[in-house]
Amino acid sequence: MHRFANPTTFMRIANAVFPWAAGLAVVLFLAGLPIALVTSPPDYQQGDTVRLFYIHVPSAWISLLVYGSMAVSSAAFLIWRHPMANVSARAIAPMGATFTGLALITGMLWGQPMWGTFWVWDARLTSFLLLFFLYLGYIALADAFEDPERGDKAAAILAVVGSVNLPIIHFSVEWWNTLHQPSIVKMGGFTVDGSILLPLFLMLGAFTCYTVAVWVLRLRAELLAVKLRNARMSEVSLSRMPAE
């Protein structure tokens, strides 16, 4: 654990992973996108709107995964005080928020032809929306402080508290909905056949590799920012009165 917490070791591993992740992402996108968007058969019911599926599901999937990883590394940061754990969480949070947004948007676009409306207050949609808010809360809190180190810790506490709350939100929203009235539409109600599975898995792989690659880039950027801050900071020491 300590070995990976060392920024140098950590970055060495991350940098080694980067070309693979980036390369694989390119390959998988090149393979997956044409199938997903062009050659895969349109759904007999949904027509071409089914293609949103290949973006929607991977995005939703990644955004859940990212929150999980954020919560775990925030906990590691709080317990063991490994700064890298926090830099990692901070680096990946905007990715999570973006994919959550993407899943929401594609879901809404898909909902219009499918349900005749952009939005329903369905259990999954609602809890997913609240996940989006938790992401935004994390990001806002992380840079709401004059002292960046305080933002780090506060945001980490929020990430952990939020993860405790996620299942609660999920189940409460589900109960609320079923008590009121049955959901208008059950998502994922249609059978998934092989012609859909292949592009879906290609896109899942592509999204995952892409996330890992961008995460490494953002890690570098975060570390550079810290380094820059430190460099600027060291000049603060020249603040004595000039000898007159």
């Binding site: 004059e146 600027r232 020249l238 009165m241 000039p242 000898a243 007159e244």
Partner: protein
């Protein structure tokens, strides 16, 4: 009513027109209690007045009253002998440095100074020069939130240099300053007086003014036996 400045933008070259500022029979009531009464002072170009008095004697109150921030209960304030009615115009003639420093932590040292310069509508004086003068030169591009107590206070004092005005009202300007900064402040005050400026300063102990005329604020009453005890 903006003070005429006889020369260009280099701070040290500006001189002020001859002027005088005086108060007669000033009294101030705060929260129903008379803080002081019967205070009289007079100051003209190049002079300084040092307010003295124990804690709670009313030095801060008097300075804010001179600035027009607090309302006086009795007496008269005059500029060049004419009673001041328009305190808006009067305020263009003065700079007030109080207990609160008016520093924005999110802006850099230079941006803070630029805001004040723009606020008072002065031509683009080099704010870095002002920062330099108070030992903040190296910090000009750093956010003010990183400053220590003394550095922040120095930034607030640098406000005096970015937009000249003949009358300076300084409330304990030596607070939290180290020796080198105190010397720099003394130099800045001396320069200001040499250019025809006036300084009213409240301070305990440390003296950053030479030959200031003392004005005893505490002479009037003491907190313990005041109208307060009757009132409550």
């Amino acid at each position: 009513m903006v003070p005429r400045i006889n020369s260009g933008t280099a701070l040290s070259l500006q001189t002020f027109e001859r002027a005088s500022f005086s108060g007669t029979g000033l009294a101030c009531r705060r929260g129903g209690r008379l803080v002081f009464a019967g205070l009289t002072f007079s100051i003209s170009s190049g002079e300084a007045v040092v307010l003295r008095g124990h804690n709670g004697s009313g030095k801060t109150t008097l300075l804010r009253l001179m600035a027009g921030l607090n309302r006086k209960s009795a007496g008269e304030l005059a500029w060049n002998g004419a009673e001041i009615h328009d305190f808006e115009a009067h305020s263009a003639l003065l700079r007030f440095i109080g207990h609160l420093d008016a520093v924005k932590p999110a802006l850099t040292v230079a941006e803070n100074l630029e805001f004040w310069r723009n606020l008072w509508g002065y031509p683009p004086v080099d704010v870095k020069q002002a920062a330099q003068r108070l030992g903040l030169g190296a910090l000009a591009d750093f956010p003010a939130r990183l400053l220590s107590a003394g550095q922040r206070h120095r930034l607030s004092l640098a406000r005096l240099l970015v937009a000249p005005a003949p009358l300076w009202l300084l409330d304990e300007p030596g607070n939290a300053l180290d020796d080198a900064s105190l010397q720099a402040l003394a130099g800045i005050i001396a320069d200001h007086r040499a250019r025809g400026g006036m300084v009213v300063i409240a301070s305990h102990g440390t003296t950053v003014v030479e030959n200031g005329a003392p004005l005893d604020v505490g002479a009037f009453t003491n907190v313990s036996e005041t109208h307060w005890s009757e009132a409550v």
